[in-house]
Amino acid sequence: MKTKVFLLFFIFLLALPLSCGKGRPSIYKKTKPFMDTLVTITVVAGSDEQANRTIDKAFSVIEQFGDKINFFSDKSELSAINRNAGATPVKVSPDTLGVIERALYISEKSNGAFDPTIGPEMNMWDFFKKIRPSDTAIKKKLSLINYRDIIVDHDRSTVLLRRKGMLMDLGGIAKGYAADLALANLKQNGIGAGIVAAAGDIRAFGLKPDGTLWNIGIKNPRQQSEADELIAKASLTNKAISTSGDYERYFIEDGRRYHHILDPKTGYPAGRCRSVTVISDSGIFADGFSTAVFVSGPEKGMELVREAGSDAVIIDKDGVIHTTPAVKGMVTFESGH
């Protein structure tokens, strides 16, 4: 009898160290470069193995999508569309069609404040080499900018740019779309909580292992030092967040800032805002939308945000902060802002 008791106790003691430690969820994070930026995927997983496996699968989804819409690669579906502008419709895969349809939707909703046909204007700028086009060159290309000239045939899955010389650039919307694909893939593979961050386009879902919300920092558009990096912190989950800012790619010449968010109506960098952060339940109303709001300015931009049922933090050209009411419950601003 005693032996049996000891045997049971012994088995129990043996099982104890084997069961504890394994399966306790932790946060894992990995970063890889895609689409000319760094993509970080954070997951709550039970093991190294699960985290690596699911993150790598999600990275693979992003890589494949990035290859299809790469503006700089001749092999991409996007380049095929651009090469055949004014000529033939190009058959594209579902994801490419999907991101173009999203771009068209936002273009329409924002009345052209976001316009993916901005390519010919974008091409003339080089923010690293500080090259900007002449006023004449800018005016000349304006006639090629019009999202209404993107012809999509849903039945045939084709896209045609109506006029020769048109160029579609999906940079303003692709990262967020990629984040959505990655998010869906993570969930499909059993991940219940995490973050997909493609540069500033972020999707947060689920809760951290301690049951708290994810903390997303919002960059200070006029950061002076490392201590000054963030202007606010958003605590949330199950949201898409996107920021468009005039401090990401820019140069200053003769006291004037030239940055990469061009106004499709003028061809010049939009000047009404320093940064716009949109917080939405859906990725559709995040990325291209933050660009549209940025270009539209604080008043018109805020209207767009309200119509979409989203929230936003808009920092206008003078540094004044405008927010939707619900932001107060989600976002805390750093002292001094």
């Binding site: 003691l13 930026t37 760094l38 961050a197 960059k219 940064s275």
Partner: protein, 128 residues
């Protein structure tokens, strides 16, 4: 020795086996908890080009569309010693023990420890 074993009860022997098992298990558990040897991963144009151990000092050059980037590993830290991109932000970043150094114009990304974690404390991600 045989006398010792003969004098133990079944319970004694089971306890002894358990203690051995627990000690052995402890070695594996603590090994998992130790930080693994870190790598320095160099990616060019989005593809992994080189992997070096962080604990071996070396200087090497990485080709890119805008020219060669000279990278130095020393004392378990990495820096871009010399770059040929326009703004040389990657050089200005200095020595890095964890995280990443990126030269976007040259499409070079140097990741230390496989995790590019540059976020401040208490923040899970940064938008903007």
């Amino acid at each position: 020795m045989k006398a010792v074993i003969r004098n133990t009860t079944v319970a004694d022997r089971l306890l002894f086996i358990f203690l051995i098992a627990a000690s052995v298990a402890g070695i594996f558990i603590s090994r998992e908890a130790m930080p693994k040897g870190s790598d320095v991963i160099i990616e060019i144009g989005g593809k992994t080009a080189y992997t070096f151990a962080l604990d071996t000092d070396r200087t090497f050059s990485v080709p890119g569309p805008l020219g060669v980037t000279i990278v130095e590993i020393k004392g378990r830290k990495v820096r871009v010693k010399e770059a040929h991109c326009h703004n040389r932000l990657c050089e200005k970043q200095g020595w890095v023990a964890r995280g990443a150094i990126v030269c976007l114009p040259n499409r070079v990304v140097i990741s230390v420890g496989g995790k590019a974690d540059n976020t401040p404390k208490g923040i899970d991600a940064i938008t903007g």
